[in-house]
């Protein structure tokens, strides 16, 4: 007799990504990324020199993979040394680290690390801004952000003529 107690909804595929960035004592920043999915597991560490945002060292390892041969591909990471975390990095990493002579998983992990690094620069500023003690203070922060930020049309908050801009008179 068929079991009727629970609906079988076992996941066919799972993926977990963890990326972080932190300051080092030498003034540089370290990004660390870990990926675990149904087919593979990999980790990498990437040191980025400040203020020029250049990748000065990188190491990583594919710990588990569907095809055993993937474990030999971590050497492609060394191609990222010298790259600058800035405009064009996405395309450069996808073409240099990923593609038919590389590893797309490791390429994505580098980009995840770059994103963590860039987001890290914004956290303190956002915390200060969002921590305004009054509504007036918070609205002033938003107004300053919209007036002084060049990211027009980069997301819904920066869309010209949106409700927020109208309300704040920006």
């Amino acid at each position: 007799m068929a079991q009727t107690y629970v609906d079988n909804r076992i996941l066919n595929y799972t993926k977990n990504i963890h990326a972080g960035a932190e300051n080092l004592d030498n003034g540089n920043t370290m990004a660390r990324v870990r990926v675990d999915n149904t087919f593979m597991s990999a980790e990498l560490e990437m040191e980025v020199k400040l203020p020029d945002l250049k990748i000065v060292s990188i190491k990583g390892k594919i710990l588990r993979s569907f095809a055993e041969e993937c474990k030999d591909n971590a050497e492609v990471l060394q191609r990222a040394v010298g790259m600058r975390v800035g405009a064009g990095i996405t395309r450069l990493v996808k073409e240099t680290i990923g593609g038919s002579n590389g590893c797309n998983v490791l390429a994505d992990m580098i980009l995840e690390g770059c994103n963590a690094l860039i987001m890290g620069f914004t956290v303190d500023e956002l915390e200060r801004q969002l921590g305004a003690e009054t509504d007036e203070g918070y609205e002033q922060v938003l107004k300053d952000m919209l007036e002084n930020n060049p990211r027009i049309a980069s997301c819904i908050a920066f869309t010209e003529g949106n409700d927020l801009r109208k309300r704040l008179g920006v």
Binding site: Y13, N16, T38, E69, V76, G120
Partner: protein
Amino acid sequence: MFEFTRSKSIGVEKREEGMFLVHGFLDDNVYTIELDLEVKTPEYTISSARGYMKRYTTPECPKAPSILDDTVGLEIGGADFETKIKKLVGRGGCRHLADLFIECCNAVSPAALQVEWKNASSGGISKDDFIRNMLKNEPKIRDRCKTYSRESALVKRLGVEW
């Protein structure tokens, strides 16, 4: 103290024949975002997309998931898929929601592969034979990366040519 961490968690279930459900969750110092997608196969088209901004930075951010309605009908994959989503969902809504959206979409194909592998392995097919068949029958896999390139040791060992 400069410190940032982001976690993304994706789960895919084959809900019924021809339908995958994808659940995505993003949590970092600044944002918490959830996403549910329904993807129809074998077309790999998005049939439903719902998102929820739980933690964000401006009063406009919670409106971003409304843009997801415009993704219904889109086919996952293709050279410009990520660019299209970054523009549509990212610029039109939220780039972190777009990031999670792309992550969820990229999880459907491996989920379908896992279903195939589970069926094949329970039928006694070896991993080598499975990969050989995959390379023969799925041109998209060929030359996708170093392991599956025509010059790789694996492809040569399996005796596949294209």
